[in-house]
Amino acid sequence: AQSVAQPEDQVNVAEGNPLTVKCTYSVSGNPYLFWYVQYPNRGLQFLLKYITGDNLVKGSYGFEAEFNKSQTSFHLKKPSALVSDSALYFCAVRRGYGGSQGNLIFGKGTKLSVKP
């Protein structure tokens, strides 16, 4: 069964410092991985996804993620954090592949707090 783990409930970073939000996955077959961000009382905004190809995926707002097959990880990164990046971040894996069963399975979320 597909699953995603986000080992940190909260990550604290100083503005201007690099940030990493961790995600590990467990899938049968090829992984299809996504990152979403949720601001308070808002919907989920798509950041980036890994389907195939280059292990380094670039997304919105300067975020990127590195797919590591041997470590079954898909960590989200940003070289220089902004206070406005403070939000709840969800890693997700696509259930199944092809045809139906395309719903997302989410991790528990990581709250990112960027201090000035």
Partner: protein, 115 residues
């Protein structure tokens, strides 16, 4: 760019009442997903539709039903509401069925409070 529209944004109901949530997908998107996010929880998949047919079913209670209409909008009908149904309900849409490469774009959600 047009986004997913959900209505209403907020809804307050009494126990045992019914509620109907509506979702209007991004234009040309033919697939709709419904998710439920409880307080402090991750979103949980409820049900999905592709080309007006149910394509997959998750942890949706029997008290809930949903459908996708000819214009691709979808409605989630919730009956005999319980206190535990209080949550944020998201709709997401994607293009081209439930293919694994497609990105799901989420609406702002409907916050349901059952008293």
């Amino acid at each position: 760019a047009a986004g997913v529209i959900q209505s209403p944004r907020h809804l307050i109901k009494e126990k045992r009442e019914t509620a109907t949530l509506k979702c209007y997908p991004i234009p040309r998107h033919d697939t709709v997903y419904w998710y439920q996010q409880g307080p402090g929880q991750d979103p949980q998949f409820l049900i999905s539709f592709y080309e007006k047919m149910q394509s997959d079913k998750g942890s949706i209670p029997d008290r809930f039903s949903a459908q996708q209409f000819s214009d691709y909008h979808s409605e989630l009908n919730m009956s005999s509401l319980e206190l535990g149904d209080s949550a944020l309900y998201f709709c997401a849409s994607s293009l081209g069925g439930t293919g694994y490469q497609e990105t799901q774009y989420f609406g702002p959600g409907t916050r349901l409070l059952v008293l």
